[in-house]
């Protein structure tokens, strides 16, 4: 396996829904984005997505915690948010729309999909940056 394809084992962070979600999630995502060697502008994008998830995800949770699995590989960061209630994934993305700007998550993410697993929903968000 070449160094370019190495994917580290995921990090899981679970935070009780409430005012502490945003400060923790932005710190963890920012740190792992830096470790994934994302350039500064994409690191900012990752933190912005973390803030959006922290603000919107609690309304769509299946449990009382915001659970995020973060996988990092060179110049790529993948987040899996959930479990969410049925329909929560699309609703969460829809709520990221800003008048006059458009949907922020859709514009920032390289890949965005809602996956169903055993009756639960998970939102997958992937940010990447091509090697210079």
């Amino acid at each position: 396996m070449s160094a370019e394809t190495v994917v580290t084992e995921p990090t899981t962070v679970s935070i009780a829904a409430g005012p502490l979600v945003a400060p923790i999630l932005r710190r963890v995502v920012g740190m792992l984005a830096a470790r994934a060697d994302l350039p500064l502008d994409r690191l900012d994008d990752a933190v912005l997505i973390a803030d959006l998830l922290a603000a919107r995800a609690p309304a769509h949770l299946r449990r009382e915690t915001v659970d995020v699995v973060v996988e990092q590989s060179p110049r790529t960061l993948a987040l899996r948010v959930g479990p969410l209630r049925r329909g929560g994934g699309d609703a969460l993305v829809g709520e990221a729309a800003v008048p006059g700007v458009g949907n922020v998550i859709e514009q920032l993410a390289d890949e965005l999909r809602v996956v169903e697993d055993a009756g639960d929903e998970y939102l997958h968000v992937r940010l990447a940056c091509a090697a210079p």
Partner: protein, 152 residues
Amino acid sequence: MGTNAHDALRQVAEPVQAPAADVRYTCPAVAENVTAIRSGIGAFAAAAGLPSELVDDIRIALTEAVTNVVRHAYEVGAPGEVDVAVRLEHDLVQVVVSDDGRGLDAASADAAGPGLGLPLIAALASTLELRSPAAGGCRLEMTFDRRRRVAA
């Protein structure tokens, strides 16, 4: 409401699980994650409005505890995870660091170094408990009392 109605309601009601921790962080037990955990949990403690002195104590104790897992819990080169759970309850902060590794006996048998980690944690925390769960691994429970800092 009769018992049958209660049972029926339980069956249709969506189960709600109370969180066991305010924040939980699970990641591979590797050296670079010591800083990551310290930073993530430190952000939690600071955002929760804990006194900076207490946040520093928690960060130091956590660093020692997670470093112990990285160094001793698993065979060299073997994959394994470290799990950190933090819960705030009134004036107490409970921090639990656990792993699925070889357990206390095997881990301490090959322990090299001055062995200052646990005494340091004991000095910083209000309580400290080290267990070997029946399922394996090791579990270190620490509590920090914010009132102790105020009184000191």
